[in-house]
Symmetry: C2
Subunit: 225 residues, 2 copies
């Protein structure tokens, strides 16, 4: 018999995060500690940790004595996130363009290459992770820890918003626009990189359907399977 190592808090967070991003867990669903504990086969204490982490990332709302629910971002909140993202991403690109090393460009290129592979294979999970990861990598290369943390928050919130409001079947944060941005940075053309980034964010936001959605899935166990 093999010793069955229990699931870590981080793994639970990622699993729930993915389930939300892939629209298997719908906004408004209550995440009951007991159910999750049973599903992941861990104690409720660990579930609790995961839920507070998810609250910090803006994916769930915890109401005292009432429980944790998948966030239902309003249209205003969605626009708010995109507004802040525009500012932050501008900041990031500006900083990167001030001092780019060859190693940085190489990391960016290899990341975009992985995005292409995921897209070619239609690997939904990888596509979601990597398209967010691109922007996260940019923040990392900007050299500001605080911007990095902020981008982390913004990306998880954007994932939720995209999951709720997107109307197209395809994920919109494709590798082509990422690629253009990388090449502009590599060429040292800061102006162009900034312009491309703004357009990129415009496209992502433009593909959202900003009508209110009220939908619930009670199939918690199946969604997390």
């Amino acid at each position: 018999m093999t010793e069955q190592a229990s699931v870590s808090t981080q793994q639970i967070v990622e699993k729930v995060w993915l389930s939300i991003a892939e629209r298997r867990l719908r906004p408004g669903v209550q995440l009951k500690e007991g159910h999750l504990a049973e599903i992941f086969d861990v104690s409720r204490a660990r579930i609790r940790q995961a839920l507070t982490a998810l609250e910090r990332e803006g994916l769930v709302t915890i109401i005292p004595n009432r429980g944790a629910y998948v966030c239902q971002p309003s249209v205003d909140e969605a626009r708010d996130v995109f507004f802040v993202r525009r500012s932050v991403e501008r900041c990031v690109v500006e900083r990167i363009c001030k001092s780019t090393s060859k190693a940085d460009v190489s990391r960016l290129r290899s990341h975009v290459a992985r995005e292409r592979v995921a897209n070619a294979n239609d690997a939904t999970t990888d596509i979601i992770k990597l398209s967010g990861g691109f922007h996260l990598l940019l923040a990392e290369l900007s050299g500001s820890d605080f911007l990095f943390g902020m981008m982390r928050d913004l990306i998880s919130r954007t994932s939720l918003i995209t999951a709720v409001y997107r109307n197209t079947a395809r994920f919109n944060c494709g590798p082509d626009e990422h690629d253009e941005i990388v090449e502009a940075i590599s060429a040292g053309d800061g102006e162009k990189a900034l312009r491309l980034m703004q357009h990129h964010l415009d496209h992502v936001e433009a593909e959202l359907d900003l009508r209110e959605v009220r939908d619930m899935s009670h199939d918690l166990k199946a969604a997390l399977a």
Copy 2:
């Protein structure tokens, strides 16, 4: 006999936050769960919650299996926080200037008035809370939940940095500069408000002594008394 209600998690966070901001808890000090539990007379579980909250605010670092320590922000990290603050505060002021109501200005004026009172009375605790609160109020009035949350993070980190690196005895975030900013906003002069805010942040950063500090206080109980 009166029923002794136990201390809430939030109260513990605030208490530790203040102790750090007032330099009674020095950077690098380990915050042992057992000791804190004894000091506040609560269970370790609640201390644990408070510590994770403090970690999120950037005031303590939690190392797995090793414990929680008061953060020791490096000079680079300090500059990083101020860099981001400049961008965010610019964003906030721009948004406020676009649409200011009389009620907003009135709230700002009354806040600055409270700052004046605290300064006149030399009430250190109030001065710290209110000077941060001014910037937080600006973020609130900007109407962006995300900017508000970000400013919350930035302020707590700035408090830590100020506690570590300031060389003057006085707190620098005085009400006079705040007052000027409010009046510029009230007059609808966005350009001036922005300029004043930048100068204000310059002053705050300029009064920091950016040499490394290595100091520890073991007097945990006294610092929290």
